[in-house]
Subunit: 202 residues, 2 copies
DNA sequence: TTAATTCTGCACCGATCGGTATCTAAGTTT
DNA sequence: AAACTTAGATACCGATCGGTGCAGAATTAA
């Protein structure tokens, strides 16, 4: 025992799995789950189909892993926003993060969590469900944070954390759609500012 | 000359083209452009591929016609909202219409103009562009209406019709995404109310 | 060296994609 | 009834879909 495995058995893979996943994420982000073919994906990843299947399982699992990477990368603003000291700052940071993430130069316009699979045929149902869960999860975290703000007296006792979370999430999703249609960063930041001009919107 | 064509030559079609288009619209609405296969579409329409091609051209034109029908049907709330007497009522009616159209029982959840083709591969680019144009058009109509409100003194002189239109459209798009994720009508109406609690959001 | 293991590259699988050719049946005009 | 035009059904087209089988190359352990 205690044999420290210095290197895995067999021929080592000839590509960087992290970078390949990053490339796959970009393709899904731009073309959506169903719109991204294995040919598109593997060409962007710089590997063959066989290598992709060996490293990631199948298209569906590749999408799930790309979504995880998206959460920890371009969408990390969401987790950071939750750590802001007040509900107002949480909402402000969340929307500002949405704006910058959906209009980042060098990345596809919009949000992978929205346009990855908003409507789908049979083959895309699993991805569609995964994204619904993903958005629900983000909304739940906002709700908890706003509930905490109510408990702390940061928000008035009558404030509705459920509604506030859905409100912020709705504006964020709308920003993503607008960005996918070509709206610029400054245009969307103005919208975000307008959405938070009276906060909380009781 | 002056021969009044009483009936078109040849065998008359054995199906109602309007109803077939309605069915196709529902399939595109639910599955998106790329997610809806010709098999899905023609089965729902109750006709054969050949009849579909003869009556509508091809899949892309079928989608465009389905989008027109959507505009005049489920999305007719938009045109009606523009006729409201004040900017506030326009925005209120527009968002209320969004809520009810995206959560209508018996129809797919969400908005065809958003989820029909938000992200797409090569084969869906044309549909994607058509929807971007469609949403831009709706936003332009809102902008003109709000400009009119400024001209009439209904909105203060400093109001920004461009921003107001984008704000309303953003919330509407967000409502569509939320609806696609299963949000209920009353939940979304609360969001719409919150978004208009201070209007205009200057 | 040898055996075991795993990655790569290529060809290939059946299924489905959007779109069409063909044939027959059905209707209209003359 | 003849001539003409179109609807409907079926089978089919080449291309692409997601996914694999297989042979060979590369590496580790013995």
């Amino acid at each position: 025992m205690e044999i420290t495995r210095k290197a895995p058995l067999g021929r080592p893979r000839g590509f960087d799995a992290d970078e390949a996943l990053e490339r796959a994420m970009m393709v899904f982000w731009e073309q959506g789950y169903e719109g991204a073919s294995l040919t598109d994906l593997t060409h962007a990843m710089g590997i063959t189909r066989k290598s992709m299947y060996a490293a990631f399982g199948n298209k569906e699992e590749l999408f799930r892993k790309a979504l995880e990477r998206y959460t920890e990368g371009p969408a990390a603003y969401a987790a950071r926003a939750l750590e802001e000291p007040s509900a107002r700052e949480v909402a402000t940071a969340f929307l500002a993060g949405s704006v910058s993430a959906t209009t980042r130069p060098g990345c596809p316009a919009g949000c992978l969590g929205v346009q990855g699979s908003l409507a789908a045929g049979d083959s895309g149902r699993a991805a569609q469900d995964a994204l619904i869960t993903w958005r629900d999860d983000g909304r739940a975290r906002l709700r908890h944070r706003f509930q905490q703000a109510v408990d702390e007296g940061d928000l008035p006792p009558g404030a509705n954390p459920e509604l506030l979370a859905r409100y912020v999430m709705t504006v964020s999703n709308g920003i993503a759609v607008q960005a996918a249609g070509g709206a610029t960063r400054s245009e969307l930041q103005q919208v975000a500012d307008a959405a938070l001009r009276n906060w909380p919107p009781v």
